[in-house]
């Protein structure tokens, strides 16, 4: 009996308005329950993403320890300015995305659209810089499997004249570039998916959705976007920075 009364009270005092929200799906009791389920589901999805990238990070760790000089030399060929620029771009885009979620929570449509467009532009900017870098690596014959030659590591470079590797070591740089392309490629794939989803959400927001308290899709997309940012936060030091001083 107690439980019935309590349930009735909660319904009365709590979310009377929300009980009839148009976006409440039939199998949920209340809007908070639906929202928490969505957030929890998203976080579980992100844990699978951690493990997905985890396999690559694990491979990177192993091969970096095996072929340390090759990984150092490979790392030296990357443009540190591009990496830093991209890190900055992504961090700022995370900020704009966080602001977009804030705008959705405070139900301001213009602000929401503005922040989402800013995020979209920054995301595309990141991809452009990345594409530029990849193009450079293609020109330098650093794409494993398709277009790879160890020649550039045999004689040292202007910036790093010490990078004169024996041929067998120089060939191991291919593994560095394999992992570089796998990790940045998987990351860029996630960025492309993110940009596409963001475009769809943006069109929906333009049609008036997500500013009536139904924040979960925006919020969950935000989580995804921040996660992709976090992956880059680790890729940046691992691929660009930690061998820079040598």
């Amino acid at each position: 009996m107690d439980s019935h009364t309590l349930a009735a009270q909660t319904a009365d005092t709590g979310h009377v308005e929300d009980e009839h929200a148009p976006f409440l799906r039939h199998h949920f009791e209340s809007v908070p329950q639906q929202r928490e389920a969505a957030t929890f589901g998203m976080w579980l999805f992100l844990t699978t993403e951690i493990m997905f990238f985890g396999g690559l990070f694990c491979s990177y760790l192993i091969f970096r320890n095996w072929y340390y000089p090759a990984f150092v030399a490979g790392s030296h060929t990357l443009h540190i300015w591009a990496g830093t620029l991209n890190t900055t771009v992504l961090i700022v885009s995370s900020f704009t995305m966080a602001m977009a979620v804030h705008a959705a929570e405070t139900r301001v449509r213009r602000a929401l659209m503005g922040w989402m467009i800013a995020t979209l532009i920054l995301g595309c900017g990141f991809l452009c810089v990345k594409a530029y870098e990849w193009h450079d690596e293609w020109v330098d014959h650093h794409v494993p499997g398709l277009n790879f030659g160890p020649e550039s590591f045999l004689h040292g470079t202007k910036a790093y004249p010490d990078d004169k590797l024996p041929l067998d070591v120089a060939e191991k740089t291919q593994l560095y570039f394999s992992l570089y392309f796998l990790m940045t490629g998987m990351h860029a794939l996630h960025m492309i998916i993110g940009v596409s989803l963001l475009t769809i959400l943006l069109i929906q927001v333009r049609g008036g959705k997500y500013v009536n308290g139904h924040v979960a899709p925006i919020e969950n997309f935000g989580l995804y976007w921040h996660f992709v940012d976090i992956v880059w936060i680790f890729l940046f030091p691992l691929l660009y920075l930690i061998s820079r001083h040598q």
Binding site: H27, F40, L44, S59, I62, G145, L175, L182
Partner: protein, 553 residues
């Protein structure tokens, strides 16, 4: 306030006018459904299909092994057949069968929810599963793959020109189906429980499925990336698994078994959940040591992430590392044994009735114990060097997977069949099938322990003539086993139309799912139930009737 108000009289039971089965009609209403119960049925149909495809492959294997020569299948055809058997049975039958069929149907019913948390994603995961399966079948039609189900590098990346890429992509797609199913269950169990359904009032079935789901979510992505790497290695030669380029083939096995060993527990944990329910019902007792059984499920789930390299003891991994993995593997025996002991203790002084689900359950307990204990042999490194890659291993995992999981699934399917369809199957046929299955199974796989111990390697189409007697035993047993599987297919299908009407609770079982009509309404519970007691209140049920509650059958 009590949850079981009246126990229906079986003789006058009638089918409810409206249920999830007849609410809507037409193919479209099934293919676009978001109802967890209908999705479970879709899975059941798809998975039964894959089971019999895989079974046909097994039949070919056993026929070939009837004689020592390669007379029925050429050696490379044989390789493709056992690979197809392994891939279909592991990824398209064993991994999804219990979670996707029984879990989808029962988890919302058992916790008092109207549906799983994300019904659309649930449907999506069925489509992913079917797409993955179609890729796999197409791949087999166009020449198949002969890596075995393990895709071991460098064999799969460098030495074969069969359809490895297609096979890997099929599994990749089906893997997403597993991830989404696991994700859905976790959110459902955490967020959708009915008022009063506390963690320690949950049926043990739910605890098992909880452990299964977190393995799905955390382990499956790793095989996804491993398979992507194999595909890229084959297509463009990235070199991560290529020793010539400095890569390490063993790395693939680490990543592969990081998923595939936990996946073994994905295959057995749901079975354990089923057994807990069935044992309690047919002994009319609360499961002995509820908390221990619940936590042993979680413990198996957690340990499963620490044991994978026992598949690689002879592959050239560090022997120091192997020692750690060996020790961790033996630890898994502890929670498994806790379960076996607790089920036995539940049966002690229980009022046991030997209905079909209980017969399967007793079969499970015996077979799983043998399978589990031979697992401890294989976990000890010295024994493993002698036994690995022989038929001993084949027998071991068939005892766990087929003797354990499939038997448990059959127990669950028979136990909940009246709930799923509203009709009973012919009980005598059920019992006969259970006995045939048990006999056939032992006849098929027990000789393989001996064969393996004597040194017959697995995955060969030919063998020395002195092994023939035991192989003939095994092949003969396989025909008995086939009858054991075909029989339920026939009488369960028959019962859809001609079975006796079951009524809401034919087994007089406790548990939320038995309080609603069978088959249930689309929305499961017309009024959200309020739970006041735990799932195994058989003492209470008995006192309600004034005498021991009889079972039907």
């Amino acid at each position: 306030m009590s949850t079981i108000l009246s126990l229906p009289d079986q003789s006058t039971a009638s089918l409810p006018k409206v249920s999830y089965l007849n609410k809507e009609y037409g193919l479209k209403s099934w293919l676009l459904t978001q109802d967890h119960k209908r999705i479970a049925i879709l899975y059941l149909i798809a998975i039964t299909f894959f089971f019999f495809v895989g079974g046909a492959m097994a039949a070919l294997i056993r026929l070939e092994l009837l004689t020592p020569q390669t007379d029925l299948l050429a050696a490379d055809t044989y390789n493709k057949v056992f690979s197809a058997h392994g891939i279909i049975m592991v990824f398209f039958f064993l991994v999804p069968v219990a979670p996707a069929v029984l879990g989808n149907f029962l988890i919302p019913l058992m916790i008092g929810a109207r549906d799983v948390a994300f019904p659309k994603i649930n449907l999506l995961s069925w489509y992913l599963f079917v797409s993955g399966g179609c890729i796999e079948l197409t791949m087999m039609v166009f020449g198949g793959v002969d890596t075995g189900w393990t895709f071991t590098t460098p064999l799969s990346t460098h030495y074969l020109n069969t359809n490895v890429v297609a096979a890997a992509m099929g599994i990749f797609v089906a893997g997403f189906s597993s991830i989404l199913t696991g994700l859905n269950f976790l959110v459902t169990i955490h967020r959708m429980r009915a008022p009063g359904m506390t963690w320690f009032r949950l049926p043990l079935f739910i605890w098992s499925y909880y452990a299964t789901s977190f393995i799905f979510v955390l382990a499956t992505p790793v095989i996804a990336i491993a398979l992507v790497l194999v595909v890229l290695e084959r297509i463009i030669g990235i070199g991560v698994f290529d020793p010539a380029k400095g890569g390490d083939p063993l790395l693939f096995q680490h990543l592969f078994w990081f998923y595939s060993h936990p996946a073994v527990y994905v295959m057995i944990l749901p079975g354990m959940g089923v057994i807990s329910e069935v044992v309690a019902c047919f002994c009319r007792k609360r499961v002995f040591g509820y908390t221990a059984v619940a936590f042993s499920s979680v413990a198996i789930g957690v340990f499963s992430f620490f044991v994978w390299a026992h598949h690689m003891f002879i592959m050239g991994i560090s022997s120091y590392s192997a020692l750690v993995f060996s020790l961790m593997t033996m630890l898994v025996a502890v929670p498994s044994a806790i379960k076996i002991f607790n089920w036995s203790a539940t049966m002690y002084k229980g009022s046991i009735t030997f209905d079909t689900p209980m017969l399967y359950t007793l079969g499970f307990i015996g077979l799983f114990t043998i399978g589990g204990l031979t697992g401890v042999f294989l976990a000890s490194m010295g024994m493993d060097i002698h036994l690995t890659e022989t038929y001993f291993v084949v027998a071991h995992f068939h005892f766990v997977m087929v003797g354990g999981m499939v038997t448990a699934f059959m127990a669950g399917l028979h136990f909940w069949w009246p709930k799923i369809t509203g009709r009973m199957y012919p009980e005598s046929m059920g019992r006969i099938a259970a006995v045939i299955l048990f006999t056939g199974f032992n006849l098929t796989f027990f000789p393989q322990f001996i064969l393996g111990y004597l040194g017959m390697p697995r995955r060969y189409a030919a063998y020395p003539p002195e092994f023939q007697v035991l192989n003939v035993f095994s092949s003969a047993g396989a025909t008995v086993l086939a009858v054991g599987y075909l029989l339920p297919l026939l009488y369960l299908t028959w019962s859809l139309k001609y079975g006796k009407i079951a009524g809401a609770n034919p087994w007089q079982a406790a548990g939320l799912e038995w309080e609603i009509q069978s088959p249930p309404l689309t929305e499961n519970f017309p009024v959200t139930p309020i739970v006041t007691h735990e799932a195994y209140d058989y003492e209470w049920l008995a006192s309600k009737k004034g005498s021991e509650v009889p079972t039907v059958g």
